[in-house]
């Protein structure tokens, strides 16, 4: 099924590379956009085939466009991941040694936690005990913000968990580094950072997977031990789409184009020569 690599594929790859990770809906829109721009044949709903063509070219470079699920809303995401890396070396080129150490400590806290979140208090306290080079709380807060911006962590109410992109990129590393602690979802068998777990037998599942699995059951029971499932079942229909307004950039493009953005347009009209 090997289609030829075309400018449409290259454009898609450039944009995905600059985003790092994209939601399924955004990726489908990008697929359509790229085909339209390059006047290439657009096969709707054939995004995965389109991606396969790119992956064939990426494989000798130890890179891959991977599909993964967000633990928050269950939505499919596409991310460009590096497969040669087996550890945090992917991040190593971008951050200082003590920043990496802080990230590792944060990851420890997240994976060892009940709910997959680490409080900023705990993280900042560990910043004080870094072996490489101590970090003040202010600096650690800045570093955490950078990790969030770069999509390694996500933040909610002052607590931090791993970003979908991070989970997709480092799943193998996490499973092999935390072999007895890292949880796997009973439904989809992927790594689960945030999960609901049966109190009796410890079987865990992603929240979206729980929602999907128990959708038709009025009295949810654990799939392993049949005990009553004690938690609230997440409602799958409630998630609001905030990606509809997101648009796609030309990552190597003419920076002048950027100025047609509302944000800049407004300020720029104040310029006087």
């Amino acid at each position: 099924m090997a289609a030829q690599m075309s400018d449409a594929h290259r454009r898609f790859l450039q944009v995905l590379m600059s985003h790092g990770i994209m939601e399924g809906a955004e990726a489908r829109k990008l697929h359509r956009c790229c085909c339209e721009i390059s006047k290439a044949y657009y096969a709707q709903d054939k995004l995965d085939d389109f991606v396969s063509t790119i992956n064939n070219q990426l494989q000798p470079l130890f890179m891959q466009i991977r599909k993964g699920m967000s633990e928050v809303d269950g939505r499919t995401h596409y991310a460009l991941v590096n497969m040669a890396e087996t550890e945090i070396t992917k991040m190593a080129s971008d951050y200082a040694e003590n920043e990496l150490e802080l990230f590792r400590k944060t990851m420890d806290l997240i994976i060892l936690s009940e709910n997959g979140f680490a409080s900023s208090t705990d993280i900042l306290n560990s910043a004080d005990q870094l072996k490489t080079k101590k970090m003040k709380k202010k600096e650690a807060e800045q570093v955490l913000k950078i990790f969030v911006d770069d999509k390694w962590l996500s933040e909610r109410n002052g607590e931090y968990t791993l970003h979908t992109r991070c989970i997709m990129e480092m799943e193998q590393y996490i499973l092999s580094t935390y072999p007895d602690i890292a949880k796997k979802c009973n439904i989809c068998h992927s790594l689960a950072i945030q999960s609901q777990a049966c109190e009796t037998c410890g079987t865990g599942m992603h929240l979206p997977c729980v929602g999907k699995y128990f959708k038709t059951q009025s009295r949810p029971r654990c799939p392993q031990c049949n005990d009553f499932w004690p938690y609230e079942i997440p409602d799958r229909s409630r998630i609001d789409s905030q990606s509809s307004s997101r648009r796609i950039i030309e990552p190597y493009g003419d920076p002048t184009d950027a100025l047609y953005k509302e944000v800049i347009l407004e300020t720029a009209t104040k310029m006087k020569w």
Binding site: M5, D7, R10, R11, L13, Q14, M17, S18, H19, C33, I37, S38, I54, L58, P60, L61, F62, N82, A84, E85, E87, I88, T89, A92, S93, D94, Y95, A96, E97, L100, E101, R104, D149, S176, T177, P179, S245, R246, R247, I248, I249, E250, Y252, G253, D254, P255, T256, D257, A258, L259, Y260, K261, V263, I264, T267, A268, T269, K270, M271, W273
Partner: protein, 268 residues
């Protein structure tokens, strides 16, 4: 590897790892086992005849060469994603290393891969020091699709500064630039809600990315600086585009500014 977390020293290692850590090492600003002890001069590439290159190639296995090509491609992509220009010296030191004798072959193949897979090419922005950036070879798109995020905002700020410099005759004093930005509610002393430390962004990040060139004016106390376009700005946009942006903002024709208009026309 199961259950074992690699200590930092090991991570600063080998093969795939070595070139990825130069950044963090630079930030640490102390040497490591990796960069010290390199006695070879990596600033000079041996000039060779094609037959010499061919002979050198034959002494290396295809696999070895391919591995180096892959490493170089990844190196270039990582650096360029952060918009950091790539120095040939670093390419030689961090990636090519003992394969210096087939340097040109590796670079050529990496270039072909970048083009074939990503639609990117290496462009030399400094021919004296051999510094490169990656640019897209795909046809440009009219800017209807944009990603709403900080990168766009930063570019916007940059364009505003580039415009100001151009309209002022290709060079502007820092005090003038900051005064101008003050009108847009961007202050060097204050933390901006989008840009954060604006002074750092403008004077360090944009300079490092070669969008701006900021040079101190001699014999000034307190020190004053001169702002000019950097080599990347010249490559990624043009005086014509910048003037047309200014014209759109001011709802005038580009020809309204006679000298800038002529200059922009002469520049194409």
């Amino acid at each position: 590897m199961a259950g074992r977390r690699l200590p930092a020293a090991e991570i600063w290692g080998r093969f795939n790892g070595c070139w990825r850590h130069w950044m963090s090492q630079r930030k640490r600003s102390r040497g490591s086992g990796l960069t010290q002890g390199d006695d070879e001069d990596f600033s000079v590439v041996p000039t060779q005849s094609p037959s010499q290159v061919q002979r050198n190639l034959e002494s290396r296995s295809q696999e070895e060469i391919n591995r180096k090509v892959t490493e170089l491609v990844q190196f270039l992509l990582v650096k360029d994603q952060k918009k950091i220009p790539i120095k040939r010296v670093d390419i030689l030191k961090k990636v090519i290393r003992e394969y210096k004798d087939v340097y040109s072959e590796i670079v050529n193949r990496a270039g072909r891969t970048l083009q074939q897979v990503f639609g990117l090419q290496m462009v030399e922005i400094d021919t004296k020091h051999h510094i490169y950036i990656l640019t897209s070879t795909l046809p440009r798109v009219e800017g209807e699709n944009l990603k709403q995020d900080i990168q766009t905002a930063k570019l916007g700020l940059l364009i505003v500064i580039l415009s100001f410099i151009f309209m002022k005759g290709n060079s502007a004093k820092d005090s003038a630039v900051w005064e101008f930005l003050r009108r847009l509610r961007v202050h060097p002393g204050e933390k901006h809600e989008v840009f954060g430390d604006v002074k750092k962004l403008v004077m360090e990040e944009f300079v490092r990315q070669k969008y701006l060139e900021i040079t101190p004016i001699p014999l000034t106390d307190p020190p004053e600086f001169n702002f000019q376009w950097g080599p990347r700005a010249a490559k990624e946009t043009s005086k014509k585009d910048i003037l047309s942006f200014v014209a759109k903002m001011q709802k005038k024709e580009p020809s309204f500014w006679i000298s800038q208009y002529n200059e922009a026309k002469a520049n194409t």
